[in-house]
């Protein structure tokens, strides 16, 4: 049964992610730890986008905006000597949620290409805002003096601890997302994607539910941004550039929209490809492009859909 295959693969994937630090230590290749941690951070961003893109049909082309906001919400307090993660991370989620509320309230009044263009425009506005603020390093961004501090055993300076924090957050996001999407709230969001006229005729006003989903996705992506700032130990406006939004969208489509494991698989595939191919040629996207076309043509449900089959939990 398809759902069984999915469950087994998902558990095996989680186990494999949990085993990465052990293997990396045994092979004395700390680089893998770093790479997979980065993959998981982008997986969180991709899962958050899939919540609105795959389940909600909202093609937001500005999702990297929240990645940037989350990263700055770590770096700016740090610049002023505030290093507590208890403050930085909720701030990252809160400010991202607020930005998503404003952006969503305006963008969701449109649909189709207009929605894509407006979300893109908002993200580019934030990108140029980032460039223009000299106090925050402008174009160059700024270094993060130290990673977020939580106290006790949760010391992100330890790469292994940081790794497991990211893994735990990824699993938490997946579990919470799964709950939300199958609860009444998720049913409305998915129904409105499936057939908006029908959803309205039976009495739903989709706007407020879409907006709520948009805000949740923004907040989760803001968290990914906070993690990314800790990962790279610097932030730049480039986090918000539209190509970055495109990368996240490619991860979702490559892995499989409207699934939870799909975007994770997409982030793995995308960043591994980037890693392997960019060692070969700086024009590695020349290879990624045709690959993406193949996926769209022959595996409409993405890599994960091709592996697991079934209805992808949409119904």
């Amino acid at each position: 049964m398809a759902s069984r295959v999915r469950a087994v693969t998902a558990v095996a994937g989680a186990a494999a992610l949990a085993a990465v630090p052990v293997v990396a230590a045994a092979l004395q290749e700390p680089f893998y730890l770093d790479l997979v941690r980065r993959v998981m951070i982008f997986a969180i961003a991709a899962v958050s986008l899939d919540l609105i893109l795959g389940y909600g049909g909202m093609v937001s082309f500005g999702h990297a905006a929240y990645l940037g906001i989350g990263a700055y919400a770590v770096a700016v307090p740090a610049l002023h000597g505030v290093h507590s993660g208890w403050l930085q991370w909720p701030l990252a989620m809160g400010v991202s949620a607020l930005a998503a509320l404003v952006i969503g309230a305006i963008s969701l009044r449109t649909s189709g290409v207009y929605f894509i263009m407006i979300t893109l425009a908002f993200a580019q506005m934030l990108y140029y805002l980032g460039i223009s603020i000299e106090a925050w390093g402008g174009d160059d961004g700024m270094r993060l003096a130290r990673r977020s501090r939580f106290g006790g055993p949760v010391d992100l300076a330890d790469p292994y601890v940081f790794y497991y924090v990211v893994l735990a957050l990824l699993l938490a996001v997946l579990a919470l997302g799964h709950r939300v999407i199958h609860a009444r709230f998720g049913m409305v969001v998915r129904a409105a994607r499936s057939n908006e006229a029908r959803a309205r005729a039976i009495g739903f006003s989709p706007f407020r539910y879409r907006l709520a989903a948009f805000v949740m996705a923004g907040a989760v992506c803001g968290l990914a941004g906070a993690l990314l700032a800790n990962q790279t130990e610097y932030v730049t406006p480039g986090f918000m550039h539209w190509t970055r939004s495109g990368d996240i969208m490619v991860m979702v489509i490559l892995g499989g929209m409207g699934t939870f494991v799909g975007p994770v698989a997409g982030a793995v595939a995308f960043l591994l490809l980037e890693n392997v191919l960019s060692a070969w040629t700086v024009h590695w996207q020349i290879i990624l492009g045709p690959l993406l076309i193949l996926v769209v043509l022959y595996a409409r449900r993405g890599l994960w859909g091709a592996v697991s089959g079934g209805s992808l939990g949409r119904g």
């Binding site: 609860a183 709230f185 049913m187 119904g315």
Partner: protein
């Protein structure tokens, strides 16, 4: 006489130069089944869409249960007890039949900002939905994805979704469209039972269905209601025969 449940006055809708509904006046009394007939392009679907709130009229007033609902959108009218079915089948194709109906129940069970409990195990939604599916004859098909149901079954599902909102007025746009003879008979029987408990505005081309179900008939031609009356008077009216039933005589 008490006020009619539905009162339409001077309803007008233009598409460019075309007047799709032209000064339409209509009443539907509580418990009544009002059939709306007329040739292709007469404006019947446009009328239903204005009654349901999917289209804004250019002029005119729609009163429902004594309230002016002309400016209300479709969800707000649904909340007040107006439910429609679509001429071109409109269901949630990638959801099972039961989910389709459970969604309609959910839409009328308070707000949906509920993030934790799985809706698929929510008996407050599933049980009423299952009852309605059985009522329309889809009890055995509850778990089939709507998009793969047979055409006739999808038409039944349309009715089920409208019923699940516990409407005071059913707006049915050609419920028998595209059905075979046997399926049509089944649908007529279903509507015959619904008619006893519901007020219905029924748009239909199938004259057997119309004369079997209607308490009154309104005839639309080129956006205008040219006659309203009992089935007998409509059948006898020379004007109606010329304009619409003509091909039969």
């Amino acid at each position: 006489m008490a006020d009619p449940l539905l009162e339409v006055r001077g309803l007008r809708k233009r598409f460019g130069g075309l007047v799709a509904t032209d000064d339409v006046d209509l009443d539907a009394g509580e418990g009544e089944t009002l059939a709306v007939i007329g040739p292709n392009g007469a404006g019947k679907t446009t009328l239903i869409a204005q009654l349901s709130g999917d289209l804004r009229p250019d002029a005119g007033v729609i009163r429902f249960a004594g309230e002016d609902v002309t400016r209300l959108d479709a969800p707000a009218r649904s909340a007040r007890g107006l439910a429609r079915s679509f001429q071109i089948t409109s269901v949630f194709r990638d959801f099972p039949a039961l989910d389709n109906v459970a969604l309609a129940v959910q839409a009328h069970a308070g707000h949906s900002f509920r993030f934790w409990r799985p809706a698929g195990a929510d008996r407050a939604l599933r049980e009423p939905a299952r009852l309605v599916l059985e009522q329309v004859g889809l009890g055995m098909r509850a778990d089939v994805v709507a998009g793969v149901l047979a055409h006739g079954e999808q038409r039944q599902l349309e009715i089920a979704m409208a019923l699940a909102t516990r409407p005071r007025l059913l707006l049915l746009d050609e419920p028998m469209a595209g059905m075979g003879a046997e399926e049509s008979q089944q649908m007529i029987r279903l509507l015959g039972t619904l008619k006893r408990a519901h007020t219905i505005v029924l748009v239909e081309h199938d004259m057997d269905a119309v004369f079997a179900l209607a308490d009154r008939i309104a005839v639309m031609v080129y956006g205008r209601v040219i006659a309203v009356g009992s089935p007998e008077t409509i059948r006898a009216s020379a004007e109606v025969r010329r304009a619409y039933l003509g091909e039969a005589s």
